[in-house]
Subunit: 203 residues, 2 copies
């Protein structure tokens, strides 16, 4: 049988779906074309008809992760502003990483080559964060600084939690809510300062 009889053939989306499930289940090490093919009931060379090798597959997963994350963040932020928006954004971010640790982990891998599409997908996520910060009255350089801080905290917290980095008995939930509150405070402070500078004549 050189081609399946049932009329049904594999599709790129199906491959990426299965790969996403696999990497979340087994981690980055467990993401192999061999195992993926086995799950799809196919031989590994067949995957090359739908995906450009392992590297291409990872790229595909990265794009999907960023796109999904952006979508969820946007849905959480819409209709809210200020502290509400921040809290919703943070919680969704954390939940995403905890639910899709493997997929999210691929996001970070150093982009050796300049990949415009991946970069743009990343920019989409940043855009949502920026929108929330606009609710604090932050613009320009301050907004960029704040975005970096926010992303750093969220990324760091979620990754450390997902990899078991918080080894204590104290509930992680509380730590997270406190972190969000302190972030809110920081953003308010930053916005006030920026406002002060503006009123003083932009110096």
């Amino acid at each position: 049988m050189a081609r399946p009889a049932g009329g049904r053939t594999l599709t790129r989306a199906a491959v990426v779906d299965a790969a996403a499930a696999l990497v979340d289940e087994r981690g980055p090490e467990g993401l192999t074309l061999a195992e993926l093919a086995k799950r799809l009931g196919v031989r590994s060379p067949s995957l090359y008809n739908h995906v450009d090798g392992l590297e291409g597959l990872v790229r595909e997963l990265r794009l999907r992760a960023l796109s999904d994350l952006q979508q969820e963040l946007a849905r959480a932020a819409v209709g809210r502003s200020g502290r509400d928006a921040l809290a919703a954004l943070c919680r969704v971010y954390r939940a995403f990483v905890l639910e899709h640790p493997g997929l999210y982990g691929l996001t970070v891998r150093s982009t050796e080559v300049e990949d415009a599409e991946v970069r743009q997908a990343g920019a989409g996520v940043v855009e949502v964060v920026l929108a929330v910060l606009r609710g604090y009255g932050l613009e320009g350089d301050d907004a960029v600084h704040a975005t970096r801080l926010l992303r750093s905290t969220l990324h760091g917290f979620a990754v450390l939690e997902a990899t078991g980095g918080f080894g204590l008995e104290l509930p992680v939930e509380e730590s997270f809510e406190l972190a969000v509150e302190l972030l809110h405070l920081s953003l308010v402070t930053l916005a006030e300062r920026a406002g002060g500078r503006a009123r003083a004549g932009g110096r």
Copy 2:
């Protein structure tokens, strides 16, 4: 030649040294026993005399990374307190990750198995952070929450920066200094609240 003539033989430390250099240079993907052996002028099976396979080597590197990081953090924090200590700690943390991205990256890998030694090495790092927080008057649960926040921010910032996650022209340096300042502010706020709760009778 089944054994080198010069009387000089390989040592575990030499293997780990070379591995650390390799992973910083080529990233986690580039860390292979084959390449490592080549650099050490030896065949790959010979490495098994000094290290327990690739997995054992990674474990060794993880221990070294945590130990080195703890040492550098401790040296930075000693003799300082409060904001000075915090700033020094943060800068050293960031510098460490930027100088040893590959080595540091191994630190995070999910510890599937409960490895007491690795966990203890991680606890050593946490200890230094806790010591700095004590300078803010933070103790108990609050100190743990604060440690989590601090580690999250530092980890997130450094990793995002090291992997090229901050793709803009705005200087990362400024963002970092601002983040440290806002962290300081958050810690002060948290300490004040804790003090207030204590004076109110522990409620």
